[in-house]
Amino acid sequence: MIAVLVLKDGTTLQGIGFGAETTSVGEVVFNTSMMGYQEALTDPSYGGQMLVLSYPLIGNYGINKFENESSKIQPSGFIVRELSPNECHKDSISSVDKFLKDGGVPGIYGIDTRFLVQHIRDKGVMPAILATSTREIDPKSLLKKLEFDYSAIDFVSKVSTKNPLIFGKGGKKKIALIDYGVKMGIVRELVARGAQVHVLPYSASAKDIKEIAPDGIFLSNGPGDPAILTDAHKMIREIAGYKPIMGICLGHQLLAHAFGGNTFKMKFGHRGSNHAVLDLESQKISITTQNHGFAVDKVPDGFVVTKINLNDKTVEGMQNKSKQIISVQYHPEASPGPHDSRHLFDEFMKMI
């Protein structure tokens, strides 16, 4: 199968196709993690995006039944340098090729992914179209078909649960988790700490939450521009102060918007599992998993910055003591990535 990837600026790369035979569009983003491709493929934060992995050898350990972060493949396309023809791992139940085929998502390999990563780094993230076919593909006609505006689309409504779900039944503490595209890793960490997690749709109102009578509220990660989710901003303002709140990633950005702060779209975001975050109080650093294209540039009144990114000094954590709110831009649940920050879940459990 052949595959052609065409970027909005006309850059065209031809490679070998895998996964589903189809055509799809999305915003091309890159991730620098060397492992954890399965978690990335199922991370709802990648909704509407095409994922390039900078690490060239993908698929070596196959797909297993433990590392799915949601029930389906989230990115609209998968771009790698080399796809392992075989998998060697005791837990492997499928190849990446089959996983993508079953999920209806196209993939391309055999292209210069380092070039692509640097292109995006220099030019910024941009839409692209990826076609895979057993017949010929005309790159020019592909570019014409490319109509896509990432920021205009409400991905959250697409990836959020339709109905409330409960995990960790019988847990001592009750947590209402608002699902903007939650990674199962977050749910797993909370359940592991004795929480009964009520996963609610993104549209849940303050009233819906209070009906559950939770001990704490959790605002999940998710895809898209936080600025356009005005209903969520409103809900958060209403519920704040009711019970302790923790936000991760999109949840953290929504907290900023809810109280008069602001976010900006980064040139190419932070996606990987090697960024150091400095805790301003302990002056210790943690290596974190990151997956975001927007960041908080205006911290709302009443909030203090608790953590920053060492490289570009962007806000990585905020706190509002009086309202009992903590939030982080990165992913303490990891999956994939370092487990250095999982203690944050302990801190939240202590708060509630």
Binding site: T32, H89, D112, R121, N274, I285, L310, A334, H339
Partner: protein
Amino acid sequence: MSSQKTKSAKNLPKKVLVIGSGPIVIGQSAEFDYSGTQACRALREEGVLVVLVNSNPATIQTDSETADKVYIEPLTWEVLEKIIEREKPDAILATVGGQTGLNLASELEHKGILKKYGVKFIGTNGKAIELAESRLEFNKLMEKIGIPILPGKIVKDFNSAKNFAESSSSGYPVIIRPSFTLGGTGGGTAHNEEELRQIMELALRMSATKEALVEKSVIGWGEFEYEVLRDSNGSAIIICNMENIDPMGVHTGESIVVAPSQTLSDIDHQKLRSAALKIVDAIGIVGSCNVQFSMNQDSGEFSVIEVNPRLSRSSALASKATGYPIARVATKIALGYTLSEIENSITGTSAAFEPALDYVVVKIPRWPFDKFPKSSRIIGTQMKSTGEVMAIGRTFGEALNKALRSLEIKVPKSINPDDHLYPPTDLRIFAILEAFRSGRTVAEINKATKINPWFLARLKETTDFEKILAKENLGKEMLLKAKRLGMSDKWIAFLKNQENKNEALTELKIRGLRKSFGIIPTYKIVDSCAGEFVAKTPYFYSTYEFENEAKPLPGKKVVIVGSGPIRIGQGIEFDYCCSHAAFALREMGISSIMINNNPETVSTDFDSSSRLYFEPLTFEDVMNIIENEQISGDFEGVIVQLGGQTSISLAEPLANAGAKILGTSIDGIDIAEDRERFRALANKLGIPQPKNDVAMSESEALVAAAMIDYPVVVRPSYVIAGRAMEIVYNDEELRRYIHEAVEVSEKRPVLIDKYLDNAIECEVDAIYDGKTLFIGGIMEHIEPAGVHSGDANIVLPAMRLSEKDKKTIEDYTQKLSKSLGIIGCVNIQFVVKDTIVYILEVNPRGSRTVPFLSKAIGVPLAKLATKVMLGEKFGEKLALPTQGAGEGQQKSTHFAVKSIVFPFLKLMGTDIALGPEMRSTGETMGIGKSFEMAYYKALLAAGIKVRNQENKGAAFISLRDEDKKYAPKMAQLLQKLGFSIFGTLGTVGSVQSAIAISKIGKGHPDVIELIESGTVTLVINTPTKGGRANTDGFKMRRASIQMNIPCITNISTAFELLKALDELKTQKLDVRCFDEYG
């Protein structure tokens, strides 16, 4: 390297003592020059005064530019105490000098010396080192923090080891690991009681603490390593994780290693990563640490194997693999900076991040079995390799194949896989490829080797593709696929020719075809961040893709061809020279472009040159780079003189392909290396050569030898360090040699020279600019001619040569340099017998003595040579140094001696008697006001420590017939030194007060018993001929190696040693900073 940007003012030490790692030995190679040099620079950037001690002159670390005070002195605690007393440092950095540095620092602490002089540890302290290094303490700590360890027991005797091995928690096989040793020395795997007894005996003797760990064997589990940096504030990061392709049972230094790991899922990886951080935290590491794990990949169960609380071979590899300057950052941490305060000089971002790779790195060890044909090739828990190569690619196959060709070894034409799969040998990787070629399956090989099937499948991919390539038409796509799998043009030509005997494809034809398709390599940057940030590093590797990031450098530039892996005959000395070439170019304002594949060295540090290409040193790979750089800018040429035989042998093919070679012309090189042409030149110049001839066949050789008269030296033409060179005494030996040596060199005749008995050998290193000659010095060998120059103890200035001899040597050097058209370095070896100076050979390149000589006379020879190669002239732009041979050396007020170290302890079955084959791995330097002092220091630095406490020592002497006449004199000297004397009847029969001992096994006690009981502390044995493994002499020499007592095998070495010891009875060993010697 950009300057350090730090936030807070620290309470920095004023003066730090840095301990180097001494001579290159198996298990401790050039990596510590690399990390030590980086550490010294990092300290000086902060304004800290650095006092450096190292006995190895062939190091950048011991250059006066690297440290404020350089001591080239033996690495013993006694010497260090003297230095501490003189220098009064307030701190010691113990973690950059390998196991040697660490052990010495521990010794200094235990003896209370650090406390006495108020010296404190910076970085990981003595307590943490103890926790990490003592098996008992470490195991206790692991149990406390809940990290699994393998069932094992610390033992101090054989019976406890046996009890453990037979207990229910273990069973045979068991692994024995002595505490506090280097490269697993003395350790091994015991499959039964007998093996256990043997290994335990050695292990306990080797361990500094006389204890060993006996551990359940998990042969076949996966082996993984994590390189950790932790600061004093408790923040820690993983620089790199690595996977050993050879599973447990093979020392990591002996394994093929890939970075990052390939077969771990994120869950597996994070489990090990978190464990590594927890361990390092519990130990209290402040700086760098290496953590090794084993993992059963069928169950997910894992255990920690060991940690190295210091910079290590693995950390050097991790540095080069990721582009992250581990030694530099570890040193800043030692000074008290936190990770968040240190800048990553590559990206300008914070040093606190974990490098992301967008390529694959493969490291392969380089073994010395070509030099030790009688040693067992089986590899295991003890290191035998001398060096390593690293290659980078975008696929595993590409990296692996590049690494394989970087090894520069000749793979036997036919390999029977079953001889190498298990137990593994150095040839296992080739055996696996061969097995796949002959139709075996991944499952079969996995069963035999336990190597993860993922790697095996990749290897099979290569051999499967070989078959397709051989048969199908060589079109653009086919060729591109081959290149992306890392296949060389030469290999492609070979495969096609093998398939179709009518084809006569050459490497050059494939190259032409490839270029006609537009298939040329693209170069990618090693940037530590997978392209996420704009990198400033000029560090590249090749691959076949879309974008070429190595835009040709602007302005004047020169390519330096490096020397590849450290091997016997071509060691760190050449890397030293290449690094100096880069430094000289920097001084001249010319960009230096380094090509090398050795991850351990200074030359491959990203800031040694203007641009580094981490590539194999073959014609194809080097020429590709030259062509890339020739696209624009002012390409001045290629330096091939300084990378040893590796680079000089590329001169001709590169020149033929149109590259400009700097310095001596190709024709000059050829005359020097071609025996016939050289003989003609020597005749023309009237320079005597020992009688010699060339033979193309056995019968020709026999005739030639008869004409020349035995004994003769025989060797193949074009050799590195006397490979397969031998002295033969009769027809029978000559015949045997011819049969064994044919394999050594393809289509090259055998050379036969008269062997001059009992002659003085000497050599010069000189630089010629086409008009003016500078001779650095005439170095005299202490051993007579016949011992390889690389294995000889060397003294400067020469002591036994007459003024007339010296003048003749200078005259010959001048004539030869002129006639050969030398521009740059030349090394000439002479032998003087009965006042006649004979020429042995001319090496038209920098030699292994260049660093030693540069240090001895205080003139940077390699730098001068580089400038000369670029057209500078002595007496014009370049000042002619005054310290050279002739008047310069008459003024010298000190002696310098170069001594050597051998790998005999690690290579069983090897005789230690010296001959014309080079076998040493490293060198030391001793400097003193008298020859005796310098010689004693050099030997002490090489580990020859004559113990004669309270005059209770005994010497055993056994001399060959020619030397027997010296026995009385030797006995007299020994007695004067307080030794009691034993010897063989033949040697000491006529010596009063000596006790004659019966032959081995013919009575009690025999010599072996005397050695093993510890009675004998010095053996002097001059063997008749090397190579016979069953003689008494051989057994005696091996026994002394096992007991770690000096065994001197050469009569000259022995006398000079005894004289030095005598001298030292009245003269105290004094230490001096290098600059204090005039």
